[in-house]
């Protein structure tokens, strides 16, 4: 056991010496390549993991029509229904129905939605708005006081 430990210690020592020796002898293109590689690696982390947590889409379905917008967009969409135009607003990562020609205005009363799986519907005007996508891992289903 003691022999194994000695061998491991000697190997570690040699490895550290080798690393130190090499790092002091970096040549110009080594540094360029190292910098570019580190840049590529970290930008790939950001590109893949940071952008994909916000890939939520807003799906708006009316009679014979359907729209998809990214949740991050700022849009005001007018959806034609049997009663008239329902106005859907996407603003700062949330969606709500701004105005609708229905009687009870339940769709407006439902307020804003912002998480995947949530929906707002205006049944009289046959407009259905929902959010699809992969939820963020730290997201809560809901909370109460």
């Amino acid at each position: 056991m003691a022999v194994v430990m000695t061998v491991i210690a000697a190997t570690m020592k040699a490895a550290i010496a080798a690393i130190k020796h090499s790092i002091t002898r970096f040549r110009p293109w080594d540094l360029v390549i190292l910098a570019i590689s580190v840049l590529i690696t970290f930008s790939s982390f950001i590109l893949v993991y940071a952008t994909n947590t916000n890939n939520l889409q807003v799906v708006i379905e009316g009679v014979g029509q359907s729209y998809i917008y990214p949740l991050s967009a700022n849009e005001t969409i007018s959806v034609q229904g049997p009663l008239g135009n329902t106005i859907v607003v996407i603003h700062q990562g949330a969606v709500h129905v701004e105005d609708s020609p229905c009687k009870n205005k339940l769709c407006i009363a439902m307020g804003e939605i912002s998480r995947p799986g949530q929906w707002v519907a205006c049944l009289p005007n046959q407009v259905f708005v929902r959010i699809i996508g992969t939820p963020a891992k730290d997201g809560l289903d809901g909370s109460t006081y």
Binding site: R25, W29, D30, L34, S37, V48, Y49
Partner: protein, 179 residues
């Protein structure tokens, strides 16, 4: 001995070393089949300065096919991944070293380029043929791993090339010159 024979015996030695290191690599348990440390690439990196391109390419093919036979992946899609990755990294390393020269780039830069090219090509192949766009999710950890292993292999090769008498003698024999 005349030069072609010397060159061939060095090629045979390095080829055998590739196969031996492939076996060692195969013995190390790994969580995913694509993840490799790449120790079998050490002889390829060392041979860049020793051989003309034809012998270098032969060594690369010995490594690819030998590794496939050892791991039993010769007739599976894994072989295509291995072939694509190794070819890209070998060509990239050879070109860089020859164009920039020993004073401009050490084995450390070569190793990083080789590892990233190998992993990059394998990710692209996985994207095209197997996983589709979701292949992007394995890209960042693979690239990071390639950066680390490439750096370590480069450090090893740099120290080896500076300290090995065998390597120095092989360099002095100027095997890459046309006889």
């Amino acid at each position: 001995m005349d030069q072609p024979i010397k060159r061939h015996s060095t090629l045979a030695l390095l080829g055998a070393l590739c196969l031996f290191l492939s076996t060692i690599e195969y013995l190390i348990p790994k969580p995913l089949p694509f993840i490799r440390i790449g120790i079998a690439n050490i002889p390829i990196m060392l041979s860049i300065d020793l051989f003309p391109f034809s012998s270098f390419f032969l060594l690369v093919m010995i490594k690819v096919i030998g590794q496939a036979i050892i791991t039993g992946s010769l007739f599976s899609y894994v072989f295509l991944f291995s072939l694509g990755g190794t070819l890209a990294s070998a060509l990239g390393m050879f070109t860089l070293r020859r164009f920039i020269g020993k004073q401009g780039i050490s084995f450390i830069g070569i190793g990083i380029v080789g590892a990233l090219l190998s992993n990059g090509v394998q990710i692209i192949l996985a994207w095209l043929f197997i996983f589709g766009p979701s292949a992007q999710f394995i890209a960042p950890p693979l690239l990071l791993l390639g950066l680390v292993t490439g750096l370590l292999l480069g450090i090893f090769c740099q120290n080896f090339s500076e300290q090995s008498r065998w390597y120095e003698r092989a360099l002095q024999e100027r095997l890459h010159d046309k006889p």
